[in-house]
Amino acid sequence: MIGLGLPRGFLVTLKNFVRAPVTVQYPDRHVGLFGAAKEAGMNPFRFVVKRPVDSIKAIAGLATVPVALEQSPRFRGNEFTFYEDRCTACASCAKYCPLGIIEIVSVPGKIDAQEGESYKLEVFDIDIGRCMFCGLCVEACPYDALHMGTKFERSTYVRDELIVTLDELNAAEKKPSSFYRPQFEENAFDPYTETVDDHYDAGRHERPSDEDLKKKWVDER
């Protein structure tokens, strides 16, 4: 059973043995002395002199530095970014959701100076516990009010906490994913460093012209 194949296999595994590991450590990664010094922004000697305790920890393998995950801006994640100002309560998202987990209750309400009459949201609940993040709701939203988020940590001990309500959506940090929102990609928007708090800055997918709006809301009434 001895041939050249086995030794070649051993060489391949040995070659991989000396390779740098591909593991991505999360949420932080262990570093040695050099890594800790680099993180602190000084050379190792200076680091040992300046911060002896930290350097001992680093040598003992206990020092960690946080890791920023490399994710695509299109990542369809948690924490939907929702701009209530833009929502007309048309419930397209609820209709397009394959699982029917978006619950919308609306009342006829406010009048937007620009866009005219709209509906006020009473309830806008997304049951994230059942959500599969397909993004069809975001794709369906004609006014770009709903965006996918970029986070992925939302573990709780109680299922009810997985229902995201309107208040939570409004309060959440607005880091919209560029999934189905090409305007973010055109502006080279990075959802991992920037936030878009104002719905005007979030850009419009297909914004009707002023004439159209006037025709629709004033002339034809």
């Binding site: 391949v12 991989n16 695509s72 801006p73 299109r74 369809r76 599969m132 999934f179 990609e185």
Partner: protein
């Protein structure tokens, strides 16, 4: 010399580490030799075909992701071709090229998984599997760039794909293609000449081509027996007729041939992707909503489209009654049909070869049970 023995029946699964999902095999052993095999499946049945009757044509894409969860892009492609045929939608050029690139990347990923798990079944303690999965991760990163998800892609829409590739994608793809070839080289260096892999897989679970054809086995399993049957060549869908590619054939029809065909096909897929990248042109990736609305209502009728999936002929049969949801959907799942020769493969073999032969079918329980 025959020694008086008594066969013993052992239940392998449904919670067995090597059954590639939840699958149960009632095996009768005589010593180490397999006397009888009875496959029991259905543990992962989720009723996807029934669920499809309650969903719009676009929503069903999310269901197809979950059928063969190691090659969702190919499922998407097969399903969308069926929808386009049913509704008479003409896809956009760029959309077709993009989904071909995605499908071929998915084929590589799927073949890598198959190879890795075959070696896992052979008893290599994870090393080849991790080398293969490492490369698959990079492919999934590309998918994340394309559509924001790694496995539950739902990338395709009627008439194309939902979004054009981001600008960084093409550079990453170029790099990844080089990496894939390197990984395949490494895997072949490691395994293709390995005496233990040889002695374990050569001449085991040999199936005659006639038997395979009669049982309507397709895919790498069929091509490993020397039957030149590749739907990309026989029945070109999308733009495969504009692509020059080699059909990989092996004549031995044993476990080794199946492994070899998969690895070589992954190499060939790299070629296909290179040609796709060379031919792709700018343009819209899906028809405008005037041509193809979000909610399509195909005319009454039915359509069947099959593509060359990573595991064999993957077909979707759709019947429309003119509504927003299909009246009936049926999937020709290659994993299920390739499993039908399990008894022929296993009976008379040894226990050690059981899961190797089983793994060489490259089946996926999500697809078998749907």
């Amino acid at each position: 010399m025959a020694i008086k023995t008594q066969p013993v029946t052992v239940n392998l699964g449904p919670q067995h580490p090597s059954t590639h999902g939840v699958f149960r095999l009632r095996v009768m052993f005589d010593g180490e030799e397999i006397v009888d095999v009875e496959p029991v499946f259905g543990y992962l049945h989720r009723g996807s075909e029934k669920l499809a009757e309650e969903r719009t044509y676009t929503q069903i894409v999310t269901l197809t992701d979950r059928m063969d969860y190691v090659s969702p892009m190919l499922n998407n492609q097969a399903y969308m071709l069926a929808v386009e045929k049913l509704a008479g939608i003409e896809p956009t050029q760029r959309g077709v090229w993009l989904r071909m690139i995605a499908a071929e990347l998915q084929r590589i990923a799927s073949h890598l998984v198959a190879t890795g798990f075959l070696l896992q079944d052979l008893g290599a303690l994870g090393t080849p599997l991790i080398y293969a999965m490492r490369e698959r991760e990079n492919i999934l990163d590309l998918f994340e760039m394309l559509c924001g998800a790694r496995i539950t892609n739902s990338y395709l829409r009627p008439g194309g794909v939902f979004m054009d590739a981001p600008t960084g994608f093409w550079l990453a793809l170029d790099r990844e293609l080089v990496d894939i070839v390197n990984t395949l080289d490494e895997l072949e260096e490691y395994l293709s000449g390995n005496e233990i892999v040889f002695s374990r897989t050569k001449g085991t679970a040999v199936l005659a081509p006639e038997l395979l054809i009669n049982a309507s086995i397709t895919g790498p399993m069929l091509r490993a027996s020397g039957v030149d049957w590749d739907l990309r060549h026989r029945n070109p869908y999308d733009y495969y007729d504009r692509i020059e590619f080699k059909r990989i054939l092996h004549t031995a029809s044993d476990n080794y041939a199946r492994y070899w065909v998969r690895v070589q096909e992954a190499r060939e897929s790299v070629n296909i992707i290179r040609q796709c990248v060379a031919q792709i042109e700018p343009g819209p990736v899906r028809p405008s909503f005037d041509d193809v609305p979000r909610l399509i209502r195909p005319p009454k009728g039915d359509a069947y489209v099959a593509i060359e999936g990573s595991k064999g002929e993957l077909g979707f049969y759709l019947v429309s009654d003119g509504g927003i949801a299909p009246y009936r959907m049926h999937v020709r799942a290659p994993s299920l049909i390739n499993l039908t020769l399990l008894r022929d493969m296993l009976i008379g073999g040894l226990f050690g070869d059981l899961f190797v032969s089983f793994g060489s079918v490259d089946l996926n329980m999500g697809e078998v049970d749907r």
